[in-house]
Amino acid sequence: MSREVEDLNRRVLRARDAMDRAYAEPLDVRAVASVAHLSRAHFIRCFRAVFGETPHRYLQRRRVERSMFLLRETDRSVTDICFDVGFTSSGTFSRTFREIVGETPSDYRVEHEPMLPPTCLQMAAMRPVVAAGVAKRSSTFGIAAAAAAP
């Protein structure tokens, strides 16, 4: 029993790593699920059980974290950064950023300086938690409905 749990954890972790690696590319949940050798719906349920959030939300927070990094460290325009980190519309990017961080990308840029910790630590530790009170799910990764299943 527990060996099965460990094997499943490891496979879902491998799929999460794939999202971390390819966050800037268009990602299809079916392709990510296949990394874990799971069907789309089963993957979404397992991911949520293992990591406490949907793969869609995980990917959003990864992309927003990378956008925060680029806003702090570069002079690229907000629109360029939006596409750099894998969003396909600046409207979705601004809405998602505001929902997770609690302020707009431009306001965030004005208020934050470059950071010193190594990038690997920033990627692990600086990923934003969702701002309080606005934890609603959006569905651009196409999984919100499936994720709502028990």
Binding site: S2, N9, R10, L13, D20
Partner: protein
């Protein structure tokens, strides 16, 4: 005054599988392998850097009761426990070597940072390993 890191440890699910990965894939060397009763002190270390042993530890009795061991195994496979950070003089070369040796679990391909070049892999169990090639600092250039 503390002068050196003597030993550290990493939790693995299987010592033999870990030994094979860390020696034959990552390129560390086998350190000490001492059996005392049911306990096996098994270490790996960085080649040409004696004195810092990385002990490969399995959750289980007598250190952990079975329920605790099960929790630890879950955390290992979720990637939720600490990992190791190594230094290399050629991260991109090592990346090619690892791929040729069949390593597929890269968390990050080599990337240039302000402090150097780094990459990330996972061991077979879920532990994160990072490898850093620090940027050479031109001390003489400082005015």
């Amino acid at each position: 005054m503390i002068t050196k890191l003597n030993a550290t440890s990493i939790m693995v699910l299987d010592k033999d599988e870990a030994l094979d990965f860390y020696v034959n894939k990552v390129g560390l060397e086998k350190g000490q392998d001492i059996k005392q009763g049911s306990y096996r002190w098994l270490t790996v270390r960085v080649p040409d850097d004696p004195g810092t042993e990385i002990s490969l530890e399995e959750p289980g009795p007598p250190v952990h009761d079975e329920a605790t061991a099960a929790q630890l195994r879950e955390l290992i496979t979720k990637g939720a426990l600490g990992g190791l950070v190594f230094q290399s003089d050629d991260v991109r070369g090592l990346y090619e070597t690892l791929k040729a040796r069949g390593v597929t679990d890269f968390t990050q391909e080599p990337a240039d940072r302000f402090y150097g070049t780094d990459m990330g892999i996972r061991d077979p169990f879920g532990n994160a390993i990072r490898i850093l090639q620090p940027k050479k600092v031109a001390h003489a250039a400082k005015a």
